[in-house]
Symmetry: C2
Subunit: 200 residues, 2 copies
Protein backbone atom coordinates (compact mmCIF):
# COMPACT_ATOMS: atom_id res chain seq x y z
CA UNK A 1 0.00 0.00 0.00
CA UNK A 2 1.48 3.37 -0.92
CA UNK A 3 0.72 5.90 1.75
CA UNK A 4 0.60 9.35 0.22
CA UNK A 5 0.25 11.08 3.57
CA UNK A 6 3.91 10.56 4.41
CA UNK A 7 6.96 12.34 3.08
CA UNK A 8 9.31 10.12 1.07
CA UNK A 9 12.48 10.61 3.17
CA UNK A 10 10.46 9.52 6.20
CA UNK A 11 9.25 6.38 4.43
CA UNK A 12 12.83 5.61 3.40
CA UNK A 13 14.10 6.03 6.93
CA UNK A 14 11.31 3.79 8.28
CA UNK A 15 12.30 1.12 5.76
CA UNK A 16 15.93 1.38 6.83
CA UNK A 17 14.97 0.85 10.47
CA UNK A 18 12.67 -2.04 9.51
CA UNK A 19 15.64 -3.89 7.97
CA UNK A 20 17.27 -4.19 11.39
CA UNK A 21 16.66 -7.48 13.22
CA UNK A 22 13.72 -7.49 15.65
CA UNK A 23 12.28 -4.21 14.39
CA UNK A 24 8.93 -4.45 12.62
CA UNK A 25 7.35 -1.83 10.37
CA UNK A 26 5.39 -0.31 13.25
CA UNK A 27 8.45 0.14 15.50
CA UNK A 28 10.44 1.35 12.51
CA UNK A 29 7.89 4.12 11.91
CA UNK A 30 7.99 5.10 15.55
CA UNK A 31 11.80 5.30 15.42
CA UNK A 32 11.69 7.38 12.23
CA UNK A 33 9.30 9.84 13.87
CA UNK A 34 11.59 9.93 16.89
CA UNK A 35 14.47 10.97 14.63
CA UNK A 36 12.32 13.95 13.54
CA UNK A 37 12.40 15.13 17.17
CA UNK A 38 16.17 14.77 17.51
CA UNK A 39 18.48 17.73 16.97
CA UNK A 40 20.51 18.01 13.75
CA UNK A 41 23.69 17.30 15.70
CA UNK A 42 22.28 14.21 17.35
CA UNK A 43 21.19 12.78 14.00
CA UNK A 44 24.57 13.48 12.44
CA UNK A 45 26.35 11.85 15.39
CA UNK A 46 24.17 8.76 14.92
CA UNK A 47 24.84 8.63 11.16
CA UNK A 48 28.58 9.13 11.75
CA UNK A 49 28.66 6.36 14.38
CA UNK A 50 27.07 3.99 11.86
CA UNK A 51 29.56 4.71 9.08
CA UNK A 52 32.53 4.91 11.46
CA UNK A 53 31.74 1.57 13.10
CA UNK A 54 31.39 -0.08 9.69
CA UNK A 55 34.53 1.39 8.15
CA UNK A 56 36.91 1.35 11.12
CA UNK A 57 36.06 -2.01 12.59
CA UNK A 58 37.55 -5.24 11.30
CA UNK A 59 38.69 -8.57 12.71
CA UNK A 60 41.68 -8.74 15.07
CA UNK A 61 44.63 -10.31 13.25
CA UNK A 62 45.03 -12.93 15.97
CA UNK A 63 41.71 -13.79 17.60
CA UNK A 64 39.22 -12.47 14.96
CA UNK A 65 37.40 -10.37 17.58
CA UNK A 66 36.09 -7.07 16.19
CA UNK A 67 38.47 -4.17 16.73
CA UNK A 68 39.46 -0.79 15.30
CA UNK A 69 43.20 -1.51 15.85
CA UNK A 70 45.46 -4.16 14.37
CA UNK A 71 45.15 -6.24 17.54
CA UNK A 72 42.09 -6.26 19.79
CA UNK A 73 42.46 -4.96 23.39
CA UNK A 74 42.60 -8.52 24.73
CA UNK A 75 45.29 -9.78 22.32
CA UNK A 76 47.39 -6.66 22.96
CA UNK A 77 47.09 -6.99 26.76
CA UNK A 78 50.38 -8.50 28.07
CA UNK A 79 48.60 -9.70 31.23
CA UNK A 80 46.41 -12.17 29.34
CA UNK A 81 47.46 -15.81 29.19
CA UNK A 82 47.87 -16.76 25.54
CA UNK A 83 48.42 -20.44 26.33
CA UNK A 84 44.64 -20.86 26.82
CA UNK A 85 42.31 -20.15 23.89
CA UNK A 86 38.56 -19.91 24.48
CA UNK A 87 36.76 -20.56 21.17
CA UNK A 88 33.43 -18.71 20.79
CA UNK A 89 30.84 -18.23 18.07
CA UNK A 90 30.67 -14.43 18.00
CA UNK A 91 32.26 -11.29 19.50
CA UNK A 92 29.17 -10.90 21.73
CA UNK A 93 30.21 -14.07 23.55
CA UNK A 94 33.52 -12.46 24.52
CA UNK A 95 31.60 -9.68 26.23
CA UNK A 96 29.69 -12.31 28.22
CA UNK A 97 32.91 -14.02 29.38
CA UNK A 98 34.62 -10.73 30.20
CA UNK A 99 31.66 -9.87 32.41
CA UNK A 100 32.56 -12.80 34.68
CA UNK A 101 35.96 -11.07 35.33
CA UNK A 102 37.42 -14.52 35.97
CA UNK A 103 38.77 -15.65 32.63
CA UNK A 104 42.28 -14.38 31.94
CA UNK A 105 43.15 -16.40 28.83
CA UNK A 106 42.71 -15.41 25.18
CA UNK A 107 39.79 -15.92 22.79
CA UNK A 108 39.15 -17.04 19.25
CA UNK A 109 36.00 -15.94 17.40
CA UNK A 110 34.67 -18.37 14.78
CA UNK A 111 32.11 -15.88 13.37
CA UNK A 112 29.45 -18.55 13.08
CA UNK A 113 28.79 -22.24 13.67
CA UNK A 114 28.87 -25.15 11.27
CA UNK A 115 25.36 -25.49 9.86
CA UNK A 116 25.05 -27.40 6.56
CA UNK A 117 21.33 -26.53 6.35
CA UNK A 118 22.24 -22.82 6.20
CA UNK A 119 25.13 -23.61 3.87
CA UNK A 120 27.70 -22.71 6.54
CA UNK A 121 30.53 -25.18 6.00
CA UNK A 122 33.71 -25.27 8.14
CA UNK A 123 35.68 -23.32 5.52
CA UNK A 124 33.39 -20.30 6.07
CA UNK A 125 34.41 -20.07 9.73
CA UNK A 126 37.69 -18.79 11.17
CA UNK A 127 38.94 -22.35 11.82
CA UNK A 128 42.17 -22.18 9.77
CA UNK A 129 43.06 -19.02 11.71
CA UNK A 130 42.55 -20.98 14.95
CA UNK A 131 44.70 -23.90 13.77
CA UNK A 132 47.41 -21.44 12.72
CA UNK A 133 47.45 -20.04 16.29
CA UNK A 134 47.74 -23.38 18.07
CA UNK A 135 51.45 -24.02 18.71
CA UNK A 136 53.82 -25.51 21.31
CA UNK A 137 52.91 -22.82 23.81
CA UNK A 138 49.20 -23.63 23.64
CA UNK A 139 48.11 -25.63 26.68
CA UNK A 140 44.36 -25.72 26.32
CA UNK A 141 41.59 -24.91 23.85
CA UNK A 142 38.20 -24.38 25.51
CA UNK A 143 35.26 -24.98 23.18
CA UNK A 144 32.75 -22.39 24.38
CA UNK A 145 30.13 -22.57 21.63
CA UNK A 146 26.46 -22.62 22.66
CA UNK A 147 24.96 -25.94 23.78
CA UNK A 148 22.88 -26.24 20.58
CA UNK A 149 23.08 -28.83 17.81
CA UNK A 150 25.27 -26.51 15.72
CA UNK A 151 27.36 -25.50 18.74
CA UNK A 152 28.00 -29.13 19.70
CA UNK A 153 28.79 -30.16 16.13
CA UNK A 154 31.25 -27.30 15.72
CA UNK A 155 32.92 -28.11 19.06
CA UNK A 156 33.29 -31.77 18.04
CA UNK A 157 34.62 -30.89 14.57
CA UNK A 158 37.27 -28.51 15.91
CA UNK A 159 38.31 -30.78 18.78
CA UNK A 160 39.02 -33.56 16.27
CA UNK A 161 41.37 -31.21 14.39
CA UNK A 162 43.17 -29.95 17.49
CA UNK A 163 43.58 -33.12 19.59
CA UNK A 164 46.08 -34.69 17.14
CA UNK A 165 48.29 -31.63 17.74
CA UNK A 166 48.66 -32.80 21.36
CA UNK A 167 46.72 -29.93 22.86
CA UNK A 168 44.08 -30.41 25.58
CA UNK A 169 40.58 -29.57 24.33
CA UNK A 170 37.85 -28.90 26.89
CA UNK A 171 34.15 -28.04 26.71
CA UNK A 172 32.10 -25.74 28.95
CA UNK A 173 30.27 -27.52 31.77
CA UNK A 174 26.52 -27.94 31.41
CA UNK A 175 24.23 -28.02 34.41
CA UNK A 176 21.68 -26.12 36.44
CA UNK A 177 21.83 -22.36 35.97
CA UNK A 178 22.70 -20.59 39.22
CA UNK A 179 19.48 -19.38 40.83
CA UNK A 180 17.44 -21.83 38.75
CA UNK A 181 14.89 -24.24 40.16
CA UNK A 182 14.58 -27.97 39.50
CA UNK A 183 10.94 -27.49 38.59
CA UNK A 184 11.72 -25.24 35.65
CA UNK A 185 14.91 -26.91 34.45
CA UNK A 186 14.50 -28.89 31.24
CA UNK A 187 15.26 -32.62 31.37
CA UNK A 188 18.39 -32.52 29.21
CA UNK A 189 19.97 -29.85 31.43
CA UNK A 190 18.97 -31.78 34.52
CA UNK A 191 20.48 -34.97 33.11
CA UNK A 192 23.73 -33.07 32.41
CA UNK A 193 23.67 -31.62 35.93
CA UNK A 194 23.26 -35.12 37.39
CA UNK A 195 25.90 -36.65 35.14
CA UNK A 196 28.45 -33.96 35.99
CA UNK A 197 27.73 -33.92 39.73
CA UNK A 198 30.62 -32.97 42.02
CA UNK A 199 31.54 -34.18 45.50
CA UNK A 200 30.97 -31.54 48.17
Amino acid sequence: MTDNSKALPLVELSEQFARLPGIGMKSAERLAYHVMNMSDNEVRAFADALVKARTEIHCCNVCQNLTDKELCPICSDPKRDNSIICVVESPKDITAFERTREYKGSYHVLHGLISPIDNITPDKLKIKELLARVNDETEEVIMATNPTVEGEATAMYISKLIKPLGVKVTRLAFGMPVGGTLEYTDEVTLYKALENRNEI
Copy 2:
Protein backbone atom coordinates in the same frame (compact mmCIF):
# COMPACT_ATOMS: atom_id res chain seq x y z
CA MET B 1 31.61 -0.82 33.82
CA THR B 2 34.14 -0.23 31.08
CA ASP B 3 34.35 -3.22 28.82
CA ASN B 4 37.81 -3.38 27.28
CA SER B 5 36.90 -6.31 25.06
CA LYS B 6 34.94 -4.12 22.66
CA ALA B 7 36.19 -1.66 20.08
CA LEU B 8 35.28 1.96 20.79
CA PRO B 9 33.35 2.69 17.57
CA LEU B 10 31.17 -0.32 18.34
CA VAL B 11 30.47 0.93 21.87
CA GLU B 12 29.59 4.35 20.45
CA LEU B 13 27.21 2.86 17.91
CA SER B 14 25.54 0.74 20.61
CA GLU B 15 25.03 3.87 22.68
CA GLN B 16 23.48 5.66 19.72
CA PHE B 17 21.00 2.81 19.22
CA ALA B 18 20.25 2.71 22.95
CA ARG B 19 19.12 6.35 22.82
CA LEU B 20 16.21 5.39 20.57
CA PRO B 21 12.89 4.84 22.33
CA GLY B 22 12.11 1.25 23.27
CA ILE B 23 15.66 0.00 22.63
CA GLY B 24 17.60 -1.12 25.69
CA MET B 25 21.36 -1.61 25.97
CA LYS B 26 21.08 -5.33 25.10
CA SER B 27 19.06 -4.75 21.90
CA ALA B 28 21.31 -1.82 21.02
CA GLU B 29 24.36 -4.09 21.18
CA ARG B 30 22.63 -6.66 19.00
CA LEU B 31 21.79 -3.96 16.43
CA ALA B 32 25.37 -2.64 16.47
CA TYR B 33 26.71 -6.14 15.80
CA HIS B 34 24.15 -6.49 13.02
CA VAL B 35 25.56 -3.35 11.39
CA MET B 36 28.96 -5.09 11.33
CA ASN B 37 27.40 -7.73 9.07
CA MET B 38 25.85 -5.19 6.69
CA SER B 39 27.65 -4.14 3.51
CA ASP B 40 29.35 -0.74 3.29
CA ASN B 41 26.68 0.47 0.88
CA GLU B 42 23.83 -0.61 3.13
CA VAL B 43 25.32 1.20 6.10
CA ARG B 44 25.89 4.36 4.07
CA ALA B 45 22.30 4.23 2.76
CA PHE B 46 21.05 3.97 6.36
CA ALA B 47 23.23 6.87 7.53
CA ASP B 48 22.13 8.98 4.54
CA ALA B 49 18.46 8.20 5.18
CA LEU B 50 18.87 9.44 8.75
CA VAL B 51 20.49 12.73 7.80
CA LYS B 52 18.22 13.24 4.77
CA ALA B 53 15.05 12.67 6.75
CA ARG B 54 16.21 15.09 9.44
CA THR B 55 17.34 17.85 7.07
CA GLU B 56 14.72 17.63 4.32
CA ILE B 57 11.62 17.13 6.42
CA HIS B 58 9.77 20.02 8.03
CA CYS B 59 6.19 20.94 8.82
CA CYS B 60 3.70 21.57 5.98
CA ASN B 61 2.95 25.30 5.79
CA VAL B 62 -0.78 24.65 6.07
CA CYS B 63 -1.53 21.55 8.15
CA GLN B 64 1.81 21.09 10.01
CA ASN B 65 2.10 17.48 8.83
CA LEU B 66 5.70 16.40 8.17
CA THR B 67 6.73 16.82 4.54
CA ASP B 68 9.76 17.38 2.33
CA LYS B 69 7.85 19.84 0.10
CA GLU B 70 6.32 23.23 0.87
CA LEU B 71 2.89 21.63 1.13
CA CYS B 72 2.26 18.04 2.25
CA PRO B 73 0.76 15.56 -0.26
CA ILE B 74 -2.68 15.92 1.35
CA CYS B 75 -2.76 19.73 1.35
CA SER B 76 -1.56 19.81 -2.26
CA ASP B 77 -4.16 17.25 -3.39
CA PRO B 78 -7.01 19.17 -5.14
CA LYS B 79 -9.41 16.27 -4.49
CA ARG B 80 -9.30 16.76 -0.72
CA ASP B 81 -12.09 18.74 0.95
CA ASN B 82 -10.50 21.67 2.77
CA SER B 83 -13.76 22.71 4.42
CA ILE B 84 -13.33 19.91 6.96
CA ILE B 85 -10.29 19.92 9.23
CA CYS B 86 -9.44 16.86 11.31
CA VAL B 87 -7.25 17.93 14.26
CA VAL B 88 -4.77 15.28 15.44
CA GLU B 89 -1.93 15.07 17.94
CA SER B 90 0.85 13.79 15.67
CA PRO B 91 1.66 12.95 12.03
CA LYS B 92 1.34 9.25 12.93
CA ASP B 93 -2.37 9.78 13.51
CA ILE B 94 -2.79 10.97 9.91
CA THR B 95 -1.38 7.65 8.74
CA ALA B 96 -4.00 5.87 10.87
CA PHE B 97 -6.87 7.90 9.35
CA GLU B 98 -5.54 7.53 5.80
CA ARG B 99 -5.53 3.77 6.33
CA THR B 100 -9.35 3.85 6.67
CA ARG B 101 -9.51 5.24 3.08
CA GLU B 102 -12.76 6.96 4.05
CA TYR B 103 -11.77 10.42 5.20
CA LYS B 104 -11.41 12.91 2.36
CA GLY B 105 -11.05 16.16 4.31
CA SER B 106 -7.86 17.87 5.46
CA TYR B 107 -5.85 17.54 8.67
CA HIS B 108 -4.16 19.73 11.22
CA VAL B 109 -1.33 18.38 13.35
CA LEU B 110 -0.95 19.91 16.83
CA HIS B 111 2.43 18.25 17.52
CA GLY B 112 1.46 17.42 21.08
CA LEU B 113 -1.35 17.76 23.60
CA ILE B 114 -1.85 20.28 26.36
CA SER B 115 -0.23 18.84 29.48
CA PRO B 116 0.66 21.35 32.23
CA ILE B 117 2.46 18.64 34.23
CA ASP B 118 4.90 18.17 31.33
CA ASN B 119 5.08 21.94 30.87
CA ILE B 120 3.26 21.73 27.52
CA THR B 121 1.09 24.81 27.41
CA PRO B 122 -1.27 25.68 24.50
CA ASP B 123 1.26 28.14 23.03
CA LYS B 124 3.67 25.24 22.43
CA LEU B 125 1.20 23.51 20.13
CA LYS B 126 0.23 24.48 16.57
CA ILE B 127 -3.05 26.03 17.74
CA LYS B 128 -2.50 29.56 16.32
CA GLU B 129 -1.78 27.94 12.95
CA LEU B 130 -5.11 26.12 13.23
CA LEU B 131 -7.01 29.29 14.13
CA ALA B 132 -5.37 31.09 11.20
CA ARG B 133 -6.69 28.39 8.84
CA VAL B 134 -10.28 28.47 10.05
CA ASN B 135 -12.18 30.85 7.75
CA ASP B 136 -15.57 31.32 6.06
CA GLU B 137 -15.06 28.21 3.96
CA THR B 138 -14.49 25.98 6.99
CA GLU B 139 -17.56 23.90 7.74
CA GLU B 140 -16.37 21.55 10.41
CA VAL B 141 -13.42 20.97 12.73
CA ILE B 142 -13.16 17.37 13.96
CA MET B 143 -11.27 17.03 17.24
CA ALA B 144 -9.51 13.68 16.77
CA THR B 145 -7.12 13.69 19.71
CA ASN B 146 -6.80 10.48 21.75
CA PRO B 147 -9.45 9.75 24.41
CA THR B 148 -7.00 10.44 27.25
CA VAL B 149 -7.08 13.19 29.89
CA GLU B 150 -4.71 15.34 27.81
CA GLY B 151 -6.55 14.55 24.58
CA GLU B 152 -9.92 15.51 26.06
CA ALA B 153 -8.54 18.68 27.63
CA THR B 154 -6.93 19.74 24.36
CA ALA B 155 -10.15 19.02 22.42
CA MET B 156 -12.18 21.10 24.89
CA TYR B 157 -9.67 23.96 24.87
CA ILE B 158 -9.59 24.21 21.08
CA SER B 159 -13.34 23.80 20.66
CA LYS B 160 -13.86 26.80 22.97
CA LEU B 161 -11.65 28.89 20.70
CA ILE B 162 -13.28 27.76 17.45
CA LYS B 163 -16.98 27.68 18.33
CA PRO B 164 -17.19 31.49 18.68
CA LEU B 165 -16.05 31.69 15.04
CA GLY B 166 -19.31 30.00 14.06
CA VAL B 167 -17.72 26.76 12.92
CA LYS B 168 -19.11 23.33 13.85
CA VAL B 169 -16.73 21.43 16.15
CA THR B 170 -17.15 17.66 16.51
CA ARG B 171 -15.40 14.94 18.49
CA LEU B 172 -14.64 11.34 17.49
CA ALA B 173 -17.23 8.82 18.70
CA PHE B 174 -16.23 6.61 21.62
CA GLY B 175 -17.61 3.12 22.03
CA MET B 176 -16.88 -0.58 21.73
CA PRO B 177 -13.97 -1.37 19.43
CA VAL B 178 -15.09 -3.44 16.45
CA GLY B 179 -14.38 -7.08 17.19
CA GLY B 180 -14.18 -6.38 20.93
CA THR B 181 -16.06 -8.31 23.61
CA LEU B 182 -18.15 -6.88 26.45
CA GLU B 183 -16.19 -8.98 28.92
CA TYR B 184 -12.91 -7.27 28.12
CA THR B 185 -14.19 -3.75 27.55
CA ASP B 186 -13.37 -1.32 30.35
CA GLU B 187 -16.25 0.33 32.17
CA VAL B 188 -15.66 3.86 30.86
CA THR B 189 -15.70 2.68 27.24
CA LEU B 190 -18.80 0.60 27.93
CA TYR B 191 -20.51 3.61 29.51
CA LYS B 192 -19.64 5.70 26.43
CA ALA B 193 -20.93 2.93 24.16
CA LEU B 194 -24.20 2.83 26.09
CA GLU B 195 -24.55 6.60 26.21
CA ASN B 196 -23.94 6.97 22.46
CA ARG B 197 -26.17 4.03 21.46
CA ASN B 198 -27.83 4.27 18.04
CA GLU B 199 -31.22 3.07 16.85
CA ILE B 200 -31.01 0.10 14.52
